[in-house]
Amino acid sequence: MHELSVTESVLEIACKHAEKAGAKKVTDVYLVIGRLSSIVDDSVEFYWQMITEDTLCRDARLHFKRVPAELVCLECGHQYLLAQELTPCPNCGSARIRILSGDEFNIESIEIQR
């Protein structure tokens, strides 16, 4: 999808916080990506190398932490994780379900050198 604009946003946020903390350099950036947020790690890595050249994030490593999508059945209360495609509740078969998590698309933290 739109990996370049996503990568640019990551860089902007990381640099903003690094500057605020008086960092000389960012060494690691930790991302949390939910199962329902589509992003291609390799493309982000590719753009990251390109756009970080003249920034505090030069040579910083990206870490992707994937978190599963959790669903709850509104009929029987059964909680389950999204497997491949969306399916009705495996316990009672109801299609009345709610998605509890899996949308995460955050920068969790950065590692810096002062």
Binding site: M1, H2, S5, V6, S9, V10, E12, I13, A14, H17, A18, A21, K24, T27, L31, L36, S37, S38, L74, E85, L86, P88, A95, R96, I97, R98, I99, F105, N106, I107, E108, S109, I110, E111, I112, Q113, R114
Partner: protein, 221 residues
């Protein structure tokens, strides 16, 4: 040299969301109602906009349109101009979606204070537009029957953020293997109780129900 870990926890698309919030404030100040219209290419977004204009024009409703396209074309905006409504064509330069900044710039070019209804036609795509808030009051998806009944299962994110679903091209149902029950079960799992209208922009079937819904949303000026 000292190393340390700084906790951030910030949404990657935070900047977009802030801009979307500002867009909403501007639209609210102008007392217009706004819609982010999403669909795959060819689902009938522009036909739907024209059908909406056609149905509301005689009642004096002013409609402004923002047309998003990935290529520098004016095919869609020419159609809107032809029916006498203000339109801004946004070329995303190859980007797969509109974002809040593009809408902000387009808003500058519209006579916002004379508009009752703002229709933003997003880029034809079922993936990326779902991730970028624009600041509109509602998100509407046009699903057309020739696309197939499995789309909610294959593109869950776009269905989850919807306020209204339009099922277009129902006049073609007799010619297609479109299982409406299977389609609607997928929609129900993603967005329980979602308001939906089955229409044909070609024959006009069902458009009246949609017009009733949108009329009730329009500001009383």
């Amino acid at each position: 040299m000292s190393e340390s870990r700084i906790k951030i926890v910030e949404k990657i698309l935070n900047a977009n969301e802030r801009l979307a919030h500002e867009n909403r404030q501007r639209i609210d100040e102008a007392t217009a109602y706004s819609i982010n219209l999403m669909a795959s290419p060819g689902a009938g977004k522009t036909s739907f906009i024209l059908a909406t204009i056609n149905g509301l024009q005689d009642e004096g409703v002013q409609i402004g349109v923002i047309e998003g396209d990935t290529a520098p074309v004016t095919i869609d905006s020419d159609k809107i101009t032809a029916v006498g409504m203000p339109v801004v064509q946004v070329n995303t330069g190859g980007e797969c979606h509109l974002d809040a900044l593009m809408v902000e710039i387009a808003l500058d070019q519209l006579p916002l204070y004379t508009i009752d209804l703002l229709l933003v036609e997003n880029v034809g795509n079922l993936i990326c537009p779902a991730a970028f808030a624009l600041g509109t009051h509602s998100n509407i998806l046009i699903a057309s029957t020739p696309e197939g009944d499995d789309k909610p299962y294959k593109y869950p994110n776009i269905y989850r953020g919807l306020d209204v679903l339009i099922i277009n091209k129902i006049d073609l149902l007799p010619y297609l293997d479109f299982d409406m029950d299977y389609f609607q079960q997928g929609v129900e799992m993603l967005n329980p109780g979602l308001i939906s209208f089955a229409v044909s922009c070609k024959t006009g079937e069902g458009i009246e129900n949609w017009l009733e819904w949108i009329k009730a949303k329009l500001p009383k000026k």
